[in-house]
């Protein structure tokens, strides 16, 4: 399963998903109103130490912050120009701190554990006539079909290049979407043939091998 998760046994991996999610929410709410760059720098320093304590491997995952840099540069320039350098520094440090902290949860928690941590929140779906396990099935289908779709796309692309000699065009998109939707309808038939019912509650739902990721 694709994920940013790092398979290691650090102490943070052993902390259950629920407390980690709560901690990250509390931290974000606490950091958001801070405007003094010195406190934020201190916090970021502490977080870097935390990364380092989890091993060189995890410390290297700070590279996940790289895609933020263009945004941070624009934000820093606008703020430095219209307000002050200290304000710009505070903004950049605050964003780095919050994102690095949130990434830490993603890096040390499997998708399965996160899914189980939020699963109770789907209970009320039953009142809307939706099977509370429908979200898990939808997530599994989504993850399963990304590689399938990428594969069909690359076949279309090859055929397009062979026929036209030109670079890929958005023209390939309409038949691609059309095929995916036809595939969806076939999968739906197959699921129902195997006894999946999207509307009954989980109490009456029979165990099926295919409704869990």
């Amino acid at each position: 399963m694709i994920s940013s998760y790092v398979s290691r046994a650090t102490w943070l991996h052993r902390v259950p998903a629920g407390p980690k999610l709560i901690a990250i929410a509390v931290l974000s709410l606490a950091v958001l109103p801070l405007t003094d760059w010195r406190w934020l720098a201190l916090g970021l320093g502490a977080l870097l130490l935390l990364y380092a304590s989890l091993g060189r491997d995890m410390f290297g995952r700070l590279a996940l912050l790289k895609p933020l840099f263009p945004f941070l540069i624009v934000i820093a320039l606008i703020q430095a120009w219209m307000e002050s350098w200290t304000g710009a520094a505070a903004s950049v440090l605050r964003i780095l701190l919050m994102v690095a902290a949130a990434n830490l949860v993603t890096l040390t928690t499997t998708m399965q554990d996160l899914m189980s941590a939020v699963a109770p929140a789907f209970g009320p779906l039953a009142h809307l006539g939706i099977n509370p396990r429908a979200p898990a099935l939808a997530v599994a289908l989504l993850l399963r079909f990304i590689p399938v779709l990428l594969e069909t796309w690359s076949r279309r692309e090859d055929a397009w290049r062979a026929r036209t000699g030109r670079r890929v065009s958005l023209r390939l998109l309409a038949p691609f979407v059309g095929d995916a939707m036809r595939m969806a309808d076939q999968i739906a038939e197959a699921l129902e043939a195997r006894g999946f019912d999207p509307s009954i509650s989980s109490a009456r739902q029979q165990e099926g091998p295919h409704d869990h990721p």
């Binding site: 605050r94 919050m98 958005l170 969806a184």
Partner: protein, 186 residues
């Protein structure tokens, strides 16, 4: 909800994810500017699936991003995205797809399908998403709304082009796939 709509929602979400992972497209009608097709997928979700299923597909993408799957354009994903400067644009996808679907259904049938789809994609996929995106950027970065709007303007031309592309793709999509204008099965 039927199994059919559930699977359609999941597969459209997979399309949105796949579009973010593909190499960039060169746009023939905009001087060959390279764009990622992911937000195009969001606009298409609202227009092709209708407001409710389209929004559900986008919600599923957002949920899976939160679970840690790196399926946003450029391989981004995980909880960090939700406290980053672009969080508003991501969250805005949800009302964006919904509004695009509503507008597409509300426009008179005598308009060409492509024109309706492009208009709907502009209202939902550009106006609504930018409203949320700019608010989010201002909240996370501490910039004023005007400054945040200024910083977001760089992306505006690409997104307007994507609204037009939504029209082109929708017009080329076979009618049975466009469930949104027929009686919805939700």
């Amino acid at each position: 909800m039927t199994t059919r709509s559930l699977v359609r929602i999941a597969l459209f979400a997979a399309i949105i994810a796949a579009l973010g992972l593909l190499p960039k497209f060169d746009l023939p009608f905009a001087g060959g500017v390279p764009i990622t097709a992911q937000s195009l997928g969001v606009m298409l979700a609202g227009v092709l699936l209708g407001p409710r299923q389209g929004a559900a597909a986008v919600l599923l993408v957002i949920f899976v991003v939160a679970l840690g799957a790196p399926i946003l354009a450029g391989g981004r994903g995980g909880l960090g995205v939700f406290v980053g400067p672009t969080v508003g644009f991501l969250v805005g996808w949800l009302p964006g797809a919904f509004v695009a679907g509503l507008v597409f259904q509300a426009l008179p049938q005598r308009l060409p399908v492509g024109v309706s789809a492009a208009l709907a994609a502009f209202v939902g996929g550009v106006l609504v998403i930018y409203a949320f995106g700019i608010a989010g950027l201002s909240m996370i970065s501490g910039m004023s709304l005007a400054q945040a709007a200024m910083a977001s303007l760089v992306f505006l031309p690409g997104d307007i082009v994507k609204a037009i592309a939504t029209g082109v793709v929708t017009a080329a999509t076979p009618a049975p796939i466009r469930v949104s204008r027929a009686v919805s099965s939700t």
